[in-house]
Symmetry: C2
Subunit: 373 residues, 2 copies
């Protein structure tokens, strides 16, 4: 029996016209093709896929990625990981630092019921992780995060050996390899410029790995890469694991990234939309009911997917301003938006509405929406 | 007994150091002073205050505003209003258009259990509202929204008389006055430029009111204005009701708006913060755990309130990059951020943590968070 609550965007079986707007839509055919395509890429490249769940925050999607061959998922936050483990995910890398006694305790509690690894970029954090893990009687898998170009978290490559040795020597910890993610390179649209940036980060990563091995440690796991760069890193022989996430959905910004053949990275197609309705047509203007509380604008405005000839010229809190030069839009018409940036857009919604053949086939909760801790 | 769930940011009575981050903090002393100050402003100006709840989406705050004299609240969405009515709010103006049969039915259902008014800017919408209200056997209060300068929703002023007459003639509807909100003027920082913009919108609004009256209709309620402009509109003699919302919290953008005496509008002070923790200090850089999923950047980056000498230079999904030239920040230090824009920031969080005298005094849910329909 479908849930009749007015807070749900739709019921299973509804025609598209009955979906409440604004709603977060997944075209299931395209989504499934993207999941399968990335599994093929990983197999062909000979690397593990550890899909990043910060994009979708959905247990339904994470479990489908793992069923298609992903070795596990990445999360950015302990609370995000906990929400997904609660729904059946069994293997999580927190591809980020975890700091502070309360979060550390939660990390350890999570590691007692799922396979959990975490990154470190500071000796104090290693000491705290060691004390917490040893106190709980478990061995925690800790990776050294290096700064390979984004200048955010991560030790200088020259400091990685000392930190890896500290992890290796710390009771309760096991040195699990290198986290080397070049976030800033994901969105370099031009393939030549992107390749040049990646050449530097790949050299840094390989040198760091070799230096750790020269110090006597195994360094078998090199993890990183995203939707914009995984083809290069996956083929490099340096990375053993890729962390792409956005490939399941794509967005305006990733659609602007070009490969050498002027294609979208990986050949992925847009599966995610914000469905909105026209709520005002006055004085030659049209306004839809999706504003920046429905589609994040940190990476730019959404692009109108349908109808043709309409464009989005601005979002305010609850309104999307549309340019409709042919004057075709009428009240309650549907406007399909491609979000500027998929990750923060998904985090605004409580539900994914999965559609196929003009009907609602699935309602998936955004399991870890708002899990900030 | 406090809820021990790890998904709560804090427990009542916790010292500030025990709040999980990132968390949305209200300085209760400042918040209460802002609520009282706006009540004083409205009384002095001789206008009603109908506080806009799109800012906070909190029943706790809405009920406090009404207890301090607000005649009711504004909402932007039917689902937002329903969430607040469910928690005891009794009087709501949907200061926006409601379009489509399903939303219309929900609006009517809400009007059967609270005092509800709505705006219109199209004859088709008036016809649909009339059919729905008449079918339910109730009389719905409908205001004409005019475009007084923002060029978003709202009829041309010259079309307002015809729409008001259509509402007046429609079974089940009662013409409730004019909605005239100049959103674009709220954020004109310079007082002279802002006053010039408002002079135009005030003239448009007064002329429209007079034309409606000349057509034989009472037009006793002129509602609009926001935190950046209410002092001018409230003193104009044109507006009878002001809709400010952000005054309870303030944000970076509103703190940049200046009055003739170079003060913040209304004398309101910052009561809202995103509390974050330092999670990485490497290579002369510091990173906190609040990114753009914790503090919206549509109106610019957050500003660091504490500690002094630290600034925010960028937000990515889960990270805040900090400039710390003196190198004072250590792992797990707290960084207090003033959000760039309060409304979409609050919509990212599940809880407000109310603090006073160094302790957690209140935990208020963000009642209508994510209520997009």
């Amino acid at each position: 029996m479908p849930n009749m609550s007015e807070d749900l965007p739709a019921r299973i079986g509804d025609p598209l016209a009955d979906i409440q707007t604004p709603a977060l839509i997944i075209d299931l055919d395209v989504f499934e093709a993207n999941v399968a395509l990335m599994a093929d890429h990983a197999a062909h490249l000979g690397v593990d896929l550890r899909a990043h769940a910060k994009t979708h925050k959905s247990a339904d999607i994470a479990l489908r990625q793992m069923a298609a061959g992903a070795v596990g998922i990445c999360c950015q936050k302990v609370s995000e990981a906990r929400a997904l483990v609660d729904q059946g995910v069994t293997d999580v890398l927190i591809a980020n630092e975890v700091v502070g006694p309360r979060k550390m305790m939660q990390l350890i509690a999570l590691a007692q019921r799922a396979r959990v690894a975490v990154c470190a970029d500071h000796p104090e954090q290693v000491a705290a992780l060691s004390a917490a893990a040893e106190g709980a009687g478990l061995t925690l898998d800790v990776l050294v995060e290096i700064d390979c170009g984004s200048h955010r978290c991560g030790v200088r490559p020259s400091e990685a050996v000392a930190l890896a040795l500290a992890i290796d020597a710390a009771p309760g910890l096991w040195f699990g390899g290198l986290q080397s993610y070049y976030g800033a390179a994901q969105h370099i649209y031009d393939p030549v410029a992107r390749a040049a940036a990646l050449a530097t980060s790949l050299a840094i990563t390989a040198e760091t790995r070799d230096a750790i091995r020269a110090a006597g440690l195994a360094c078998d796991r090199i993890t990183g890469a995203g939707t914009g760069t995984f083809e290069t890193e996956g083929a490099s022989g340096v990375y053993t694991e890729i962390q792409a996430g956005s490939y399941v959905f794509m967005d305006v910004d990733y659609n602007r990234v070009r490969t050498d053949t002027n294609a979208a990275p990986g050949g992925f197609r847009q599966s995610l939309f914000v469905l909105s309705s026209v709520m005002s047509v006055t004085a030659g203007r049209a306004v839809c009911d999706a504003g920046l509380k429905a589609s994040s604008i940190d990476s730019g405005l959404p692009v109108v997917h349908m109808p043709e000839g309409v464009s989005c010229i601005g979002l305010s809190d609850e309104h999307g301003s549309l340019d409709d030069p042919s004057g075709r839009l009428r009240l309650d018409d549907r406007v399909w938006l491609i979000p500027g940036h998929c990750d923060p857009t998904c985090n605004l919604h409580d539900w994914y509405v999965g559609i196929r053949d003009g009907r609602v086939e699935a309602l998936w909760p955004v399991t870890a929406r708002g899990k900030l801790f």
